[in-house]
Amino acid sequence: MLSLINDNRSHLDQHDFQFVAQSQTVYHCHHFNLFWDQTVDDALGNERGIAVRTKAAYEAASQFLNALISAMPPTTPEERLDIASSLFSAMGHGNLEFQVTPNGGKAIGYNLHYGLAWREKYGAHIKRHHPADAVAAGYVAAATEAAFGLPLGSIECNETICIAMGSERCEFEVHQSGETNPAFGVTKEDVMGVIPKSFPGLHEEHISGVAAGLRKFLADVSGDKRGLIEAFGVMVTQQWSNYYNFTVNRTLDIISEEKPDAIEVAKELFRECGHQCGFHTFGGIMLSPEWEALVEPLNGDPLQIINGSLAISRALGFGHWSLEAYEPEKLLVLRSPATYESVYRKAAYPVDDNGCCYLYQGAALAMMQLAHRVNWKEKPTLSNSLYLELRQGVPWRVEESHCVAAGNSMCRVVVE
């Protein structure tokens, strides 16, 4: 099934965006994914948070599956469900078993990324009382519609049993919604219509070369028998950027209306997701044997970490993150012609005064932390405890000075 993804994969060279069929995709680790969903739920409450996340996943998955299935020779509903299940596993989300008809039914989930990762990270300390796999729920609804050629929005799905709540597996109820909904999300064409001209940064040749090698490596990464991608010390998913973009923008829309005083707190927590991503994923990749083989051994030079992180961000599909300025211990300035966050925002929303690149901001801060506060020569374990230690007393602040979604010609963040 990886071949179906790769056959439909395209890469926007100058911007480091990736697409599978019409859908822009990125790679994210479980630390980022869990904190992201948690922030949505914190902002909206569990019930409404699940609803928003499920809708986001449904729209993203529907766009993705329908485009892929349309690109294939005619298939039966059963074959389509098999394809949907295999794609889900190949992208690292776990295994899904469909027991559905056009009228509904159920689906079973094994080792689902969100539920399993939550259980592994938090389950020993906290009891969870609401299901974790809204991404799978949205995907099941989209796959059922796509399999049987049903109108968009006519199927709903909700998770009734979840591994994160103590069960051995996850279960989903699938039923007709009695409605239709043509919403489809931002497409590749939409993105192409809003991206500004690209540009190089400092050390461009080196960063581009490393990014190209990593991208090639990631194209061969696929879920194991459990449907999971465990690599670089984290669990990784390939996911539709529309999922993240829909959830963050919808959440902030609601917060702006209902709890306007909390808007900056919500943004800070979305930035925190980016910081976790930078620390765990960038750091994990650079500590991996693959990095040493593909790139170079780490020598403890902070600039090596900065450049490595930029290359990784590009390979993961975050955008053409480039180095504008760097002063050891004091200053880091990144610029990018766009990010996957800003192109969505620009395509889907009117221009406003605010930057929207929360991942970009948080990850830039994490890059400064990784560069200066981790002893790479000791090959540290990037554990949660080390993370918490580094999160205390961070000596830098980050600000997004320019954003495409705010009408600027680039997205630029300053850490100082």
């Binding site: 902002a43 300390h125 917060i255 927590l269 080390l386």
Partner: protein, 296 residues
């Protein structure tokens, strides 16, 4: 220091197998807590850790400008041990499970140390240790005096032996004891279970959060004359409880703010919360910890 007091402070810390308070410089165990099932002898380990710290301090005395040991981390096959100096009188050893992440262990030490020191300060026995009835060695000299002494470095003291040049220390007023002996001590008040707050109207969660495992982050409230957890205003207690138990502690207060819509500035002054605001925060903490009842 009562065994129960120590236990209430540290027993909730996962992977922590023991805490040893050792009187310095004579390296005798003053107080200890061991997790049930631990086979090592607290007295022996306490003496060893005290000597370890003392030997290092003796060595440091020989280096111009270097001060005494503040914290040491010792990794051995069986355990990860963090030693902290506590004033002139004590070294406190935290014995963690083998394989415990060092950063996590240090964080727990940092969080717990103040609380232990506060109990030690209140302990009448400790006061006696600080001002013994029999002559005690002079207090450690100020830094300038230490430097002056460096010109004539003290001989290295063999492990296990008291420094010959120093006057003898009085025996500790509370000699160290094994678990059975400690349990028989008449002055040990029965452990008081922290009060369980009545449940709110929140969702039907299924468990009770444990008692705080760590308290005492430095902050404005630390400067208040409040001496024990029970005497703290409930707002402060609640936020300290959250800090001690929440995952991703650094983000816990932000999460409460986002869930409740209450501004961070208000949450940082938890004792000024109105009853309604306090109830919102309490519900948010329950939600974050996934429990029905808060035991703070």
């Amino acid at each position: 220091m009562r065994q129960s007091e120590m236990e209430s402070l540290v027993s909730g810390i996962k992977q922590l197998n023991g805490v040893l308070v050792v009187v310095m410089p004579d390296c005798l165990l003053y107080s200890a807590w061991q997790r049930p099932g631990q086979a090592w002898d607290a007295e022996v380990v306490g003496a060893f850790l005290g000597e370890l710290a003392r030997d290092h301090e003796d060595g440091l005395d020989a280096i111009d400008g270097w001060s005494r040991v503040k914290q040491m981390t010792v990794e051995i096959e069986e355990a990860l041990v963090v030693l902290r100096r506590s004033g002139d009188s004590f070294v406190i050893g935290f014995v963690f499970e083998r394989g415990t992440a060092i950063g996590w262990a240090r964080l727990q030490v940092q969080r717990t140390l103040k609380a232990i020191e506060r109990v030690l300060e209140e302990d009448p026995d400790e006061a006696a240790v600080s001002a013994p009835a029999v002559p005690a060695p002079p207090p450690l000299p100020p830094r300038s005096a230490e430097k002056a002494q460096v010109a004539q470095p003290a001989p290295v003291v063999p492990s296990g032996a008291a420094p010959a040049a120093e006057p003898p220390m009085p025996p500790p007023l509370r000699p160290s004891a094994g678990p059975a002996e400690r349990a028989a001590k008449p002055d040990l008040a029965p452990f008081q279970e922290p009060i369980v707050q009545p449940t709110g109207t929140g969702p039907n969660y299924g468990s009770v959060a444990p008692a705080p495992e760590a308290v005492g982050e430095e902050g404005p409230e630390e400067a208040s004359p409040v001496n024990s957890e029970e005497e703290m205003p409930k707002g402060t207690r609640l936020i300290k409880y959250l800090d001690a138990h929440a995952p991703d502690t650094h983000a816990a207060l932000l999460r409460v703010s986002l869930q409740t819509g209450l501004p961070l500035t208000l949450l940082r002054m938890p004792d000024s919360l109105s009853d309604d605001e306090f109830a919102q925060v309490e519900e948010s903490v329950r939600r974050i910890l996934g429990v029905e009842q808060l035991n703070f």
